[in-house]
Symmetry: C4
Subunit: 344 residues, 4 copies
């Protein structure tokens, strides 16, 4: 697929997410998880330390601006620059969208060269894992990391998204082994993520056997790529594949609680439908060490870094409030602490 087409596609995605409210499924699966309020937290908000470490760097709180975009277009450049500057300013992690485009269109590279905007932030490179079956290999992975100056490489698994595109790359044969190979040779860790359908225990087990230690569940409930692709290949009326599968997948809280039993050597990232700091606290109680959020950052990122920072600050305030109201002072006390769940 030509790089210019990928560029156009990225613009199209963004337009759809902006225009179709229902591309965010708003299933609010986290509303079914309840936390045990502490009337007597016995701490002060100042005691609440929302900071955490991820990949050896400190974050002001466990937030990841999830992978979204990049490519040779002024809008994409602006979005990424704003997100990176905001991540740096606010002390959170940031992932870029798939960097595949830059291998066909060198002009796209500069939109991923974000280290100058974010010298100290955790930055995550991104490629589609399935591309390892389409000519990509260790070299491209290295290059993706280099251009960004990334702390890790996200390899995303998106079988439904690929399938919902006529031009999709859908050969997922042997991908687990290839991910493992890359992971063993890359100088930075590999994070495997979905894009909105969740990772099942079986998937997690396979990846663990390949030495993967970071999983971003990216479950269902928030952005639906199936629905977005339906719009791109529209005209099909009500029964396109994308529309029929728009709610396919494992809800994020369920995915997290299923993976918790998998072993302590796995670091989980919770994403997919997280919309405020209470959801973040819930994801962490269910086992996540970091929380990702994508779609809600798009609109502010089209404006300015400041607007992005504002959203982040609101999330931090909410997350800190939730920690305070649960009486916990450190992120470590939160992760996987099921005593904080309210049982009905």
């Amino acid at each position: 697929m030509a790089a210019s087409i990928i560029n156009d596609r990225k613009i199209e995605h963004i337009a759809i997410v902006q225009n179709d409210e229902q591309s965010d499924r708003r299933r609010y699966y986290f509303d079914q998880v309840h936390l045990a309020h502490r009337a007597l937290p016995e701490i002060a908000p100042e005691d609440v330390d929302t900071t955490t470490e991820f990949l050896g760097k400190k974050l002001s709180f466990p937030l990841l601006i999830s992978a979204m975009t990049g490519g040779d277009h002024v809008l994409l450049e602006r979005i990424n620059a704003n997100l990176a500057a905001a991540a740096e300013a606010a002390g959170v992690a940031m992932g870029v969208g798939s960097q595949r485009v830059m291998f066909g269109s060198p002009a796209a590279e500069r939109t991923f060269a974000l280290r100058s905007h974010a010298p100290s932030a955790v930055l995550l490179a991104n490629l589609g894992a399935v591309q390892l079956n389409y000519g990509f290999g260790l070299d491209q992975c290295r290059r993706a990391v280099e251009v960004l100056g990334a702390d890790a490489l996200c390899l995303h698994l998106n079988p439904l998204q690929e399938l919902a595109q006529p031009e999709g790359d859908t050969d997922f044969r042997g991908i687990a082994a290839k991910i493992g190979e890359v992971a063993r040779q890359l100088p930075v860790p590999v994070i495997v993520k979905e894009v909105g359908c969740g990772i099942s225990p079986t998937d997690a087990q396979k990846l663990r056997e390949q030495g993967i230690r970071y999983l971003d569940v990216a479950g269902s409930g928030g952005t639906s790529w199936s629905r977005i692709e339906h719009h791109r290949h529209g005209g099909d009326g009500d029964d396109s594949l994308g529309l029929t599968f728009q709610d396919w997948g494992i809800p994020t809280p369920l995915a997290l609680s299923q993976l918790r039993g998998q072993g302590d050597d796995i670091t989980l990232i919770g994403s997919g439908g997280i919309r405020h700091g209470i959801d973040m606290a819930k994801a962490m109680v269910l086992g996540a060490s970091l929380c990702g959020m994508a779609a809600p950052f798009l609109k502010p990122a089209m404006q300015s870094a400041e607007e992005v920072v504002q959203v982040i600050e609101r999330l931090r305030q909410e997350f800190r409030a939730a920690m305070f109201l649960l009486g916990v002072t450190s992120v470590r006390q939160l992760v996987g602490n099921e005593a904080l769940l309210l049982r009905y």
Copy 2:
């Protein structure tokens, strides 16, 4: 009942199904069944083999155009011809509607003589089992199979539908034994099916004792014959028997999971309210080897074989997608594989 009346009745049924949206109950019982997405299917869509065998013939995927119509009328002839041509072209199974009419009106026979339109397809003859108490016997069963060139004979059980008609044939005494007798002597297998109320474990056990090895549960959730008959004997206002019983019966997914325990010598067909390929995958995970769908084919069948093929192709694409996203390459891996269910 005179054959001409049966003909008129068939036309009436079709008009009602077309005009009363609620004759399809749209209960979406399958929405309560959840499948375990595989982010890492480790296969390519090409590896997915949706083909299956049914009655010794190959199907492109496990779809049955369920029994609907036939009779001495140009519309009925067109519908059946289009369905048969589409079944042949798309490689799926097709059942005809009750052939009882042809015993009173020889002119109706030609609308069941579909083998020329579908030389290699699985074709299923159809008679009401209750007719075995109303003068029908092995001869008529044989004849029904012959005219169609059928691979099997469906005997349908429809006690509610018969009861909801003033002129209904409702003597179901000794029917199990008579079905057994026919089955033992007919050169092709007998499939016993309901028409939208489901088959209970008790029913299944009785039929198994009679040597029946094929059951089509045809449960509730989709087309309601009780409601359709209500319209035909209308004028009763809100409290006709048909309306009161419109949601009577065993929901299709429940019927399937109850019958699964019954033993491996039973081949199950899932039908009643299946509306897309995800539903098909769910029915198969719950134990079905073949999935039937009726009402949604009616409108395209009134147009052309091509329109029917289009609907089938969409279903196949969806079913294949579901298999791919579950990481299974063969239909065999799907049937009754409860590991593919997502447990909440």
Copy 3:
């Protein structure tokens, strides 16, 4: 309370039931009970014997027109005469409303003297049990039975209804023992019933110790006396006692299933919110031997016996259909037969 006031009250009740749709709470609690359809009933509708015995008399099916009215007014007379004639014609049981009025107003007696309209029907006399604390005793009970020529005497328990009236008779002290005394001396059996709030296991146990063998649960879900009394003492706005308590009580299906364990020497009547023959079948599967229905008979009874018979015939047809579709030929096979419940 003067007899004329009671008469007026009865008229008022009827007007309220007619005008306030919500006095029937329409909670449809029976919709949560599911029956196991038999595709292969192995019987004919003619085999279905809906008849049953109650109090030594034969009923065409287990229906009771529940206690409603009576009193010195032409409308009340007409209602009772029509109900009685219909009960006779259709072969069902009938209860009259409270006969207390006739002890103050002899003119009211004739509206309870229904034996001439229904020479062979089961007729049930009716008095409020609480009246045993307000000057009534064995004499009045005997007289109530005599005037009607009743087969049994219903003593109703209505603590909420009494409480929702300013003029209510609410002293329920020692009522169980007094009911027992009456029961031991009366020539006909005593049936104890509620009027829409249900009978709990504790109540049932007390009554059993007093030798009572017939209980009509009259649970919540249908007619709400609390709401009706709210209207009569209206003007209170939204917060009258009657309105606040309008849904108080034990739902009829729950009341039945709780009482089933109580012992085989209790004959249960199910009533409260039963609205068609499927509900009747469900009530019987849950343990009832007879099903009562009140409010839905009011309107036809104001017209003619024929209209009442029509409603009864519809119910019988539905009940018979349900029996047929469950493959049972006798009422005995239905009562308390939990194998007929569909388990989810």
Copy 4:
């Protein structure tokens, strides 16, 4: 914070509660608790003794007008005077709002000096527990009790409310121990209460270790302080902290049933979303010895003591009705008596 600001704030609170219907969350959590009706209560309403003792004084029934207001303003004065006069007349307990204001503005004192209006009523003083970290101590607690002539001191825990205010006092460090100290030295008992988020078992255990024997759960479902504070710091659009946390907390019935297991030496008060006498009965069956209600008293208290008495009388009538219909004659029979719960 200057006293005049506190005064203004109190007025603002009241205006918000009056104008924003949704500040009362109307979650009706008590609707999910069902009570077992007794058709045969075997008592008369006169036998029902709704009286109870609280802090050595007799109440006509277990109602507490929960803490609301006070301060140097004619409206606040009127509200408190009306509530106190009504509490006296109707024989119920009354709490005042936080008395902190009177330490900065001596003129506010008179609005808390309610003993003259309510010579024999149970009156509860009120201070924010968190103030023990902001210069308050035993002296202020004593003074708060003295001015009111209080029977006990309520120390409220409101971490969410404080956090939702920019000017909030949020240092809850060591508060449990300080509460314990005050409790050990104060001449009257200390009651610890929340203000709408509930008290968890962990909180209760801490307080018990400090010798606290009275807890008012004040759970979620009714008035939301988080939402009220959102209005005061409005203009934030849809995503203020206050709005995001508006439904945070433990629902009142759940909080009660969780605390029941904590030990018999704890006296529980149920509050938060109680709206009528049936809710009161439910709270008591779940373990409360007293029931608090706040927001619904605000409007009548702005009118007159008589209007408040009317509301109280309606509640008493409802509560008495519930007791009667459960067949219990004393409040003692109600508290924690789970046999009165209806199990589905």
